[in-house]
Symmetry: C2
């Protein structure tokens, strides 16, 4: 097992660069941290490139890492890689699934389309929720926070390794889905139907949007219909991840 | 209008102390920040004690502050009061509703009971969701983050001023609610019914619990029945605020 002790080692510099979107895009790879996420990557296998672990921390004996490169690093190096306040000392470098995910997504029947959601905790929670609801693929449009942002990854709790999460143009996806007779539902406060009035079938796509402005108007005008969740009390709206959960579980049943 | 320019002014010290739970409990008051929250407090009226605004920031002309003390402060003082990275320069001191809220809650028909939820963003989002779903009162049990923590207040987006949010002993509340023939539903992964199998009436109480451990076993054993939300995909669970939204909107309809 390799052991890196110098913070100036070029590998360390390369790993750290993955904390930026620019480098993630360039190398089509990303960094994850924490036992749970690394274990999810290990279980899935295909995307995992290497594991990095602090020499003060052990790998759980149940993990089979026989086909994964593992590098030991000092605590000092470990702390350079974290974006959390209480790092667990374990990291992995993973590959962006790219084309395979796209191909898989094409075969799906149920989709979540995300328009310009900017809070990483919200985006991660929405991905986790789509996974729980058994959705086949999540399409993240322009103007959203990066899919591989560390907080998105943490909030999604491993769902990145469970279903295709794809960047895409939502206009193109709406057209493509409608071409396959998959009904596309937007979410809107005006000119929309109460969500419980929809009788959904086994295929559907739901579009949810930006925390402040909702789904863009030009997207809403190309959906099959638009839905709203009634507000019975005095709050102005629901959190976007909560709204996503209510709608996906309603459409799914 | 009073204008405070010294960071050593005793008022400033007193306001700052409200960033701690200890002082909030002692004085039965709390501090809020940002235009939206202060406006919600102003609309509700009863709990608002005073408004504090940076002399670099104006009050919106539509606000009627004729019956509320307003104090101008310097930007330097304003920054001492904030817990955000981009403060808006406006704050208010509010009173904890205490007994009145408790009395109102007693008359309710629909309740959310929260057991040991520790993330302030989750607790705030759950309060906001309960408000949206038209729930009559939220009871927060021991072991949860403080109701008046600044991040709970921000995530709840003003719902603290819309419905009673009460600290209480959940065992006592379950007994009290069942005494009024209000069915109490726990949430659990084992020994529970799928939530869609329940036919709910116009009164109900839902208990949701800690992010990692769920609702305490001794609470689950005193409910009328316990519910679970099926996981159709590969994620292990739903975020607690998302689960709360799915269940409350299902029970409410």
């Amino acid at each position: 097992m390799k052991h890196i002790e110098s913070v100036n080692n070029p590998k360390v510099k390369q790993w750290r660069k993955l904390l930026t979107k620019k480098e993630r895009d360039k190398t089509e790879s990303f960094i994850i941290e924490g036992f749970h996420l690394v274990e999810e990557a290990l279980k899935q296998g295909e995307q995992l490139l290497e594991i990095i672990v602090s020499d003060q921390v052990g790998l759980p004996p149940r993990w089979d890492v026989s086909s994964t490169p593992v590098t030991l690093v000092t605590e000092e190096i470990s702390k350079l890689l974290t974006e959390t306040e209480a790092p667990q000392g374990i990291y992995a470098i993973c590959r962006v699934p790219s084309k395979m995910g796209e191909a898989l997504a094409q075969e799906g029947k149920t989709f979540l389309l995300i328009d310009a959601v900017q809070d990483p905790g919200n985006l991660g929670t929405m991905i986790r929720t789509a996974d729980a609801a058994g959705i086949d693929a999540v399409i993240v449009g322009h103007g959203s926070v990066d899919i591989y942002n560390s907080k998105v990854l943490r909030s999604a709790q491993g769902s990145h390794f469970h279903l295709p999460i794809i960047r895409g143009d939502l206009h193109e996806w709406i057209e493509r889905l409608q071409g396959k007779n998959i009904p596309v539902y937007g979410t809107a406060l005006e000119g929309a139907s109460e969500y419980t009035d929809i009788s959904s079938g086994e295929s559907f796509a739901l579009i949810v949007g930006n925390e402040g402005n909702g789904v863009a108007k030009d997207l809403l005008s190309s959906t099959n219909s638009n839905l709203y969740i009634p507000i019975y009390g005095k709050s102005e709206s629901l959190n976007v991840a909560v709204a996503t959960g209510i709608l996906l579980y309603f459409l799914k049943k």
